[in-house]
C-alpha cells in the first residue's frame, strides 16, 4: 500500500487538442481512479438551433458542432429534417453524402492514428501519418470546396455536384495512397517500440464494453459488432456499396489502431464503388413544407453512433433538437479503461479513444 497522489491533466495540455480535464488518482505510478470533466466547451448550440436559426440554416450551424466530423452532423441533421418534411432525396445525393462521409472517415482515422503515435512518443511516425493524411484533405477540398467545415449536405440533398474529372482524381489519389497505407499498417502492426507502448495498454473487455454502452471503433476493438452502417439501410444504402464489419478481440490501444487502419481499407473500397457506380439524377428535392412531428436518425460518424432527435411545429423554427454524440456514450468506458495502467501511458490511451469534446458538450 503506497501513498496515493492525485495528478491533474488538462484543461490545457500539450497532448490534448481540446480542453479536457482528467484527475488521476495514482498509487505507485498505477492509476487506480479517474475523474473526467468534459464540459469545458459547452456553447449552447441546441438552444440556439431551436430559437435563433431557421430550420434550413441549422444544417450549417450543426456542422460547427465539430470540425472533425462536420459532415456527419450536417448529414444527420439533413436526414432528420427530411424525415420531418417527409421528403425523399435523390439517389445521387445519397451516394455523394456517403462519399464525403467516407473521405472524412479516412482523414479522421489518420489524424487519430498520428495522435496516438505522437502521444506514445513516436514523433517520426506522427509526421509520416500527417504527411500521408494530406491527400484526403486535398480530395475533400476538391469535392466540397473547403478543407474542413464542408457544408456539403443541405436539407433536401447536397450542395455541390461531383465532376467526372474530380472522381478520376479521387481514384488516382487513392491508388497512390494504397502503398503508403500498407507501409503505415506495417509500422503500426510490427514496430517493436510502438507495440511495447500500445499492446496490453488501456484494455476494455467485451463485457465491460457492453455494460458501459461503448460505441464506434472503441467498441469494435473490444469485440462488439456495433456499427450503424450495418444496421440501417433506409437512409443511406451502405451494404450496396460494399460495407463490411470489422472487429477485433484484444480491446487495447494496439487493437484500436488496427481497427482504424482496417476501416480505412473498407472506406477506400466504398469510395471506389461509389465513384464507379454513381447514379445519374438530380441533386436536390425542393419543397415548401414546414417540419412537423418528431423524428430520430442514427448515423455512423468516425467515432461511433451519432443520434439526432428533432421536433417540429409547422413553423420555420424547430421546437426541439437533441444531439447525442459518440464520445458522450464513450465517456464511461474511457474512465473505466484507465484503471490499472501506468500513468506514463495515459496520454496514449487518451489519444486512442479519439475523444471529440466539442461534439460531447455541444
Amino acid at each position: 500500500m503506497g501513498r496515493q497522489y492525485e495528478i491533474p491533466v488538462g484543461a490545457q495540455h500539450i497532448s490534448l487538442l481540446e480542453p479536457l480535464h482528467f484527475k488521476f488518482t495514482t498509487e505507485n505510478e498505477k492509476i487506480i481512479r479517474t475523474d473526467a470533466n468534459v464540459y469545458y466547451v459547452h456553447r449552447g448550440i441546441e438552444q440556439a438551433c431551436c430559437s435563433k436559426f431557421k430550420f434550413r440554416q441549422v444544417s450549417f450551424v450543426v456542422g460547427r458542432v465539430c470540425g472533425l466530423c462536420s459532415i456527419s452532423h450536417t448529414t444527420a441533421y439533413s436526414q432528420v429534417a427530411e424525415k420531418l418534411l417527409k421528403l425523399d432525396i435523390p439517389k445521387r445525393a445519397k451516394y455523394l453524402r456517403m462519399l464525403v462521409i467516407e473521405l472524412d472517415r479516412i482523414h479522421s482515422h489518420l489524424l487519430c492514428l498520428s495522435h496516438v503515435a505522437e502521444n506514445s512518443g513516436f514523433e517520426a511516425l506522427f509526421m509520416k501519418t500527417m504527411q500521408y493524411r494530406e491527400f484526403s484533405m486535398e480530395l475533400l477540398e476538391a469535392v466540397c470546396g473547403n478543407r474542413i467545415q464542408y457544408d456539403f449536405s443541405i436539407v433536401g440533398g447536397v450542395a455541390r455536384d461531383l465532376k467526372p474529372e474530380t472522381g478520376q482524381l479521387i481514384l488516382q489519389r487513392l491508388k497512390n495512397f494504397m502503398p503508403q497505407l500498407e507501409e503505415l499498417v506495417g509500422i503500426y502492426q510490427h514496430n517493436r517500440t510502438l507495440s511495447l507502448k500500445n499492446k496490453g495498454v488501456g484494455v476494455l473487455s467485451k463485457d465491460d464494453a457492453l455494460r458501459l454502452n461503448v460505441v464506434g471503433p472503441f467498441a469494435r476493438a473490444a469485440g462488439l459488432a456495433v456499427d450503424v452502417r450495418n444496421e440501417t439501410e433506409d437512409l443511406l444504402p451502405w451494404k450496396e456499396v460494399g460495407f463490411e464489419m470489422i472487429t477485433d478481440t484484444a480491446g487495447d490501444v494496439h487493437a484500436r489502431n488496427m481497427i482504424r487502419l482496417r476501416e480505412i481499407y473498407i472506406s477506400i473500397r466504398i469510395i471506389q464503388n461509389i465513384i464507379n457506380g454513381l447514379p445519374e439524377s438530380a441533386l436536390l428535392t425542393e419543397t415548401k413544407a414546414f417540419p412537423d412531428g418528431e423524428a430520430t436518425v442514427r448515423l455512423e460518424a468516425p467515432r461511433g453512433e451519432l443520434f439526432y432527435y428533432a421536433k417540429g411545429n409547422k413553423t420555420q423554427v424547430l421546437e426541439r433538437l437533441k444531439i447525442k454524440a459518440p464520445t458522450f456514450s464513450n465517456v464511461a468506458g474511457m474512465v473505466h479503461a484507465f484503471t490499472g495502467n501506468e500513468y506514463g501511458s495515459a496520454a496514449a490511451i487518451i489519444a486512442s479513444y479519439d475523444p471529440c469534446l466539442s461534439c460531447t458538450a455541444r
Partner: protein, 174 residues
C-alpha cells in the same frame, strides 16, 4: 544574457482551444506536419505557457474556459503575442449570442493578429504567425526602450547598470 535574437529566430507556440469546433485546431496540427511545416520558422508547439512566446487561441470563449484563457495569458512571459485563429475566435462567428459563449477572444485578452476563415486554412495561419513574428520583434524592442529612456537621465560618460537605476528611484521613495 540577451535573448532577443533567439526569440525572433525561434518563437515557441502555445495552443489553447477556448471552446471551438476542433476545425482550426486540426489545421494548426496540419501546420506542424511536413506539408506546411512551420518548424522551418523555428517554431515548436509547446505545452507550457511559461516557455512560450505566441499564444494561438481558437474558438469563441465559453464561460468555463475564460478563466483558463486569462490565466494562461497571465503566465506567459513578456514579450508575448496573441493570435486569434478563425472567425469564431475573432468575433464569435456563428456562435455569437449563444448563451454560454462570450463571443471573441479580444474581450478578455489583447489580440495582436486576427486570422479569418471558418475554418482557417494552414496558409492563413502561417501568414498570421509570420505577421506575429514582426510584432514580437517590435515588442521586444519596446521592452528595451524603456531602459534606454532612463539612460538619458544619467550623466554623460556613465555606463548604465542596475545600480544606477536603483539610485534614481531611491529619492522618490524617501
Amino acid at each position: 544574457m540577451n535573448l532577443a535574437p533567439y526569440r525572433k529566430k525561434s518563437p515557441w507556440i502555445l495552443h489553447y482551444n477556448a471552446g471551438g469546433c476542433n476545425g482550426c485546431d486540426i489545421e494548426i496540427l496540419a501546420c506542424l506536419s511536413p506539408k506546411y511545416d512551420i518548424e522551418r520558422f523555428g517554431m515548436i508547439n509547446t505545452g507550457n505557457p511559461k516557455q512560450s512566446d505566441i499564444l494561438l487561441v481558437t474558438g469563441p470563449v465559453t464561460k468555463r474556459s475564460r478563466e483558463r484563457l486569462v490565466e494562461i495569458y497571465a503566465q506567459m512571459p513578456e514579450p508575448k503575442v496573441v493570435i486569434s485563429c478563425g472567425a469564431c475566435a475573432s468575433t464569435g462567428g456563428v456562435f455569437r449570442g449563444m448563451y454560454n459563449c462570450e463571443g471573441g477572444v479580444d474581450q478578455f485578452i489583447p489580440v495582436d493578429v486576427y486570422v479569418c476563415g471558418c475554418g482557417t486554412r494552414p496558409e492563413q495561419i502561417i501568414d498570421g504567425v509570420v505577421q506575429a513574428l514582426a510584432i514580437l520583434e517590435k515588442k521586444t524592442k519596446g521592452l528595451e526602450e524603456s531602459v534606454k529612456l532612463k539612460k538619458e537621465a544619467v550623466k554623460e560618460g556613465h555606463q548604465l547598470n542596475r545600480r544606477h537605476i536603483a539610485d534614481e528611484i531611491k529619492p522618490v521613495l524617501t
